[in-house]
């Protein structure tokens, strides 16, 4: 377990997402990354019904933490639980219902480069490609501020100036002990952005 930073990598106009992913992967392999399996991060939203205040419950999974399930509320409160937590949700059907077509996931290859783990995932929202997320994890450290410069160097060689500053959700917690939940919050933020973008481009019928 170490510190992770997740960035959105924009797909230039007129280029296919798959192609950009391929270029990124080549790049990682060139600097010495070794492919070590694949990864999936998925997220599903549940909306509260019949409660006085409308609430959203986000359920995330990450293959990197196969035994865990992350539940996030609007305030950012994160509950880390067994994967059995999904079973509890089925008992809450009367109060929280899954929003249709909200299932979003980032899926791709996982590379190991010395102490770094690099993941290049293509994001799909209900089946259609939406963008690219790049995650870089530095395993030996748990304090973000202590390894940020090291990570920045690697990140900039990969994705350029996007990684000028730490991810916004991490900025406040640079000196705290890093937890896997922080990674999930970064993913969730990006997922929400993708969803919003999708909602703007495709006005509800």
């Amino acid at each position: 377990m170490g510190v992770s930073c997740v960035y959105m990598y924009p797909v230039p106009e007129g280029r296919s997402g798959a192609h950009v992913v391929e270029v990124l992967q080549k790049q990682v392999e060139t600097i010495g990354g070794v492919k070590m399996g694949s990864f999936v991060v998925d997220c599903e939203s549940y909306l509260s019904i019949m409660l006085s205040v409308s609430k959203t419950l986000q359920i995330l999974h990450n293959t990197e933490y196969p035994a865990s399930c992350f539940a996030v509320l609007d305030s950012g409160a994160t509950l880390v639980a067994d994967t059995l937590f999904n079973g509890l949700l089925s008992h809450l059907k009367a109060y929280y219902q899954a929003r249709k077509g909200s299932k979003i996931e980032s899926k791709g290859n996982r590379y190991q480069l010395a102490d770094f783990v690099i993941k290049i995932g293509s994001v799909t929202l209900s089946g259609s490609f939406k963008g690219i997320l790049v995650e870089v994890e530095y395993c030996p450290s748990v304090i973000a501020s202590e390894c940020w410069n090291l990570m920045k160097e690697l990140l900039q060689s990969l994705i350029g100036n996007i990684a000028e500053s730490p991810p916004p959700s991490l900025k406040m917690k640079m000196d705290e002990i890093y937890t896997p939940a922080m990674t999930m919050l970064q993913y969730l933020e990006h997922f929400n952005n993708f969803r919003k973008a999708a909602a703007v481009s495709q006005p509800p019928r």
Binding site: M1, T63, E64, Y65, P66, A67, S68, C69, F70, V80, A81, D82, T83, L84, T179, P180, A181
Partner: protein, 628 residues
């Protein structure tokens, strides 16, 4: 009527007949008969046959009335007036009442007689008679008691002799140590380790028998026990796991050695062994079978090994180190096999490893049974504590995988074997060197506390007479490598090859020499100009590096150079700085001619120097040179 002195009340004795009197004195009456019941009851009392003949001839006083009545009752009592007896009784009663009335009158009037209450005393009881009676009843009671005691004694005697009772006692003893249950008419026991955590498929059900059943067939055998057990045929005999570590000369594995070898101490169990021993042996057979089955399964499954493990019949062969192989053989001697020539090969059974194997399987059993208690208590059973935390702590895939890994028995025993082999090899090397090298002395201190996978030894190198100068190094012998911590704190890792250890020790001996000489320099006021423990220059040697030291005498007029190499040995050169001092004065230089030889340094023949050992010789030389 005048008031009488005694009142007498007259009443009928009992209204109803008493059916029973309870112990508490309560009387239970028969319910009074109703009119019709009474009638039929009375009618039943009549003896028809008898009365008929008597009545006929008897002239009745109430003839007319009788005949009337007879007519009425004719349908069921043709010849008898049914109320006859009643009337007779009433009549008699009437007479009695009349008499009673008269008596009462007589008593009451007091003209003729007076009645006085009479004091009625109980019969006088005589003391001797009473005593006699009591005595007799006591004798009777005593008789009953002694009879009972006699019978108990007889039963006790029978218990000791009769097998039936003995059998029960034995059964009780058996029950204390083994699990028994009764199925219909047979008693079945269980000798497998299932209740102790074993998951082996083979069961170990045995049957408990009474020996009297067997002896009934005529043969009278004096038996020690009246209880016998029948163990399943596949668990009969004696078994053990033979563990051998063999050095193979050829690369071919010796498969033929898997023939059964049975040490003479482990003979077959005779039929009339005591049941406890029988059961224990059978249990051991089962345990060995489970152990071997487990090892064989693992040997087939494990694919990681560089050379595959071989399972041939009842033998598992694996390579420990090149040229050394471990063979694990299941020896099961049922007593039915043909005699194998036992003396052909000496058994090199490794008891320690056999014991470790047993221990490992027992640990597996223990793990099967034991699970950490859940906290909070409604957490799932059978998970390790760490696994419970996996979800909430968001453990990574890597951590989870490490958690799931479980080392197999075979791998563990292989590791232990490797360590054992390596330890013995190192021991041999050190011992050999300690014996062959006289100067300096090698001394090994093995720590008595070691695990089955690690042990350590401290080797100290000293020279006789100069024990305060000591080079010591610690060797930690692991599974297939040796870690050496040297005097100066440097750590080096050696492989399992024994020559590496030998080289290292020889190099250390050379270092010891230079160290000792440096030490001497300090004591004698010499100046150490340079000291290199492994110098790169000098002649090319087969192995090892040279240690050398360069010193100047206190007056700085003599310079001594010492080289020590594991292959070419130790060499000493001396150089005089001031040419004015004649070299031949030094006894170390044998002749004047040496002074004019190439270079200024002159080699000293250490062999010819006086002294017990190298350090002593050089000590002596230095002492001489510092004066010159």
């Amino acid at each position: 009527m005048a008031a009488p002195s005694v009142n007498i009340s007259v009443e009928s004795a009992i209204e109803h007949q008493i059916q029973e009197v309870r112990y508490d004195g309560q009387e239970i009456y028969v319910a009074p008969l109703s009119m019709s019941e009474n009638l039929s009851k009375l009618a039943h009392k009549i003896d028809f046959y008898k009365d008929e003949s008597e009545e006929k001839g008897k002239p009745t006083s109430e003839g007319e009335k009788e005949s009337d009545e007879e007519k009425v009752l004719a349908p069921f009592q043709p010849s008898l007036w049914p109320w006859d007896s009643v009337r007779n009784k009433l009549k008699a009663a009437y007479t009695e009442i009349s008499v009673l009335y008269d008596v009462l009158n007589i008593v009451k009037e007091k003209h003729y007689m007076v009645t006085d209450p009479v004091n009625q005393d109980g019969p006088e009881l005589k003391a001797p008679l009473q005593m006699l009676a009591k005595k007799r009843s006591l004798v009777a009671a005593a008789h009953i008691l002694s009879n009972g005691a006699e019978r108990l004694k007889r039963v006790q005697n029978e218990m000791a002799s009769v097998t039936q009772e003995n059998f029960l006692m034995e059964l009780l003893k058996l029950r204390k140590n083994w699990r028994l249950k009764k199925v219909h008419n047979t008693i079945l026991g269980e000798l497998s380790y299932k209740s102790a955590g074993s998951r082996f498929w083979q069961g170990g059900t045995f049957e408990v028998l009474k020996t009297s059943d067997l002896a009934a067939e005529g043969e009278i055998v004096p038996r020690k026990s009246s209880l016998d057990v029948i163990i399943p045929s596949e668990l009969e005999g004696v078994a053990y796991i033979l563990v051998e570590v063999k050095s193979v000369v050829s690369d071919l594995m010796n498969i033929t050695s898997a023939t059964l070898k049975m040490p003479s101490s482990l003979g077959p169990v005779s039929a009339d062994t005591y049941w406890q021993l029988k059961l224990e042996t059978a249990q051991n057979v089962l345990f060995c079978k489970e152990l071997f089955a487990q090892l064989a399964r693992e040997a087939v499954q494990i694919k990681k090994a560089s050379t595959p493990h071989m399972v041939v019949g009842n033998q598992i062969l694996t390579n420990v180190f090149p040229g050394v192989q471990l063979s694990i053989v299941l020896c099961h001697h049922t007593g039915k096999e043909k005699k194998v020539n036992l003396s052909s090969e000496k058994l090199e059974h490794n008891h320690v490893l056999e014991h470790s194997l047993h221990q490992l399987l027992r640990e597996v059993h223990d793990r099967n049974l034991k699970c950490s208690a859940p906290h909070p208590v409604n957490a799932m059973l059978g998970m390790t504590r760490k696994r419970r935390l996996a979800g909430p702590r968001a453990m990574s895939r890597q951590e989870l995988m490490e958690m799931g890994e479980n080392e197999s028995l075979l791998e563990q025993i292989l590791k232990q074997t490797k360590h054992a082999v390596l330890r013995i090899r190192s021991m041999h090397v050190i011992d050999q060197m300690a014996v062959s090298i006289q100067d300096p002395q090698l001394c090994a201190h093995w720590s008595c506390l070691n695990s089955s996978l690690e042990s350590s030894v401290r080797v100290s190198v000293t020279s006789y007479g100069y024990e305060s100068i000591r080079t010591s190094l610690v060797l930690t012998i692991g599974i297939d490598l040796i870690r050496v911590v040297m005097k100066d704190g440097r750590v080096c890792t050696l492989s399992f090859e024994e020559t590496e250890l030998r080289d290292l020790l020889q190099w250390q001996i050379c270092q010891h020499h230079t160290h000792s000489i440096q030490h001497l320099a300090k004591v004698q006021g010499w100046q150490v100009l340079s000291g290199i423990v492994s110098s790169g220059f000098g002649d090319m040697e087969a192995y090892g590096t040279t240690s050398n030291v360069l010193m100047a005498s206190p007056r700085s007029n003599v310079i001594v150079s010492f080289h020590s190499n594991p292959v070419s040995g130790s060499k000493l050169w001396v150089k005089k700085v001031e040419p004015s001092i004649e070299t031949h004065h030094s006894p170390a230089v044998t002749a004047n001619k040496w002074a004019s030889l190439s270079g200024e340094f002159q080699e000293v023949n250490l062999q010819l120097l006086e002294g017990r050992n190298l350090v002593g010789k050089i000590d002596m030389l230095m002492a001489r040179l510092s004066l010159s």
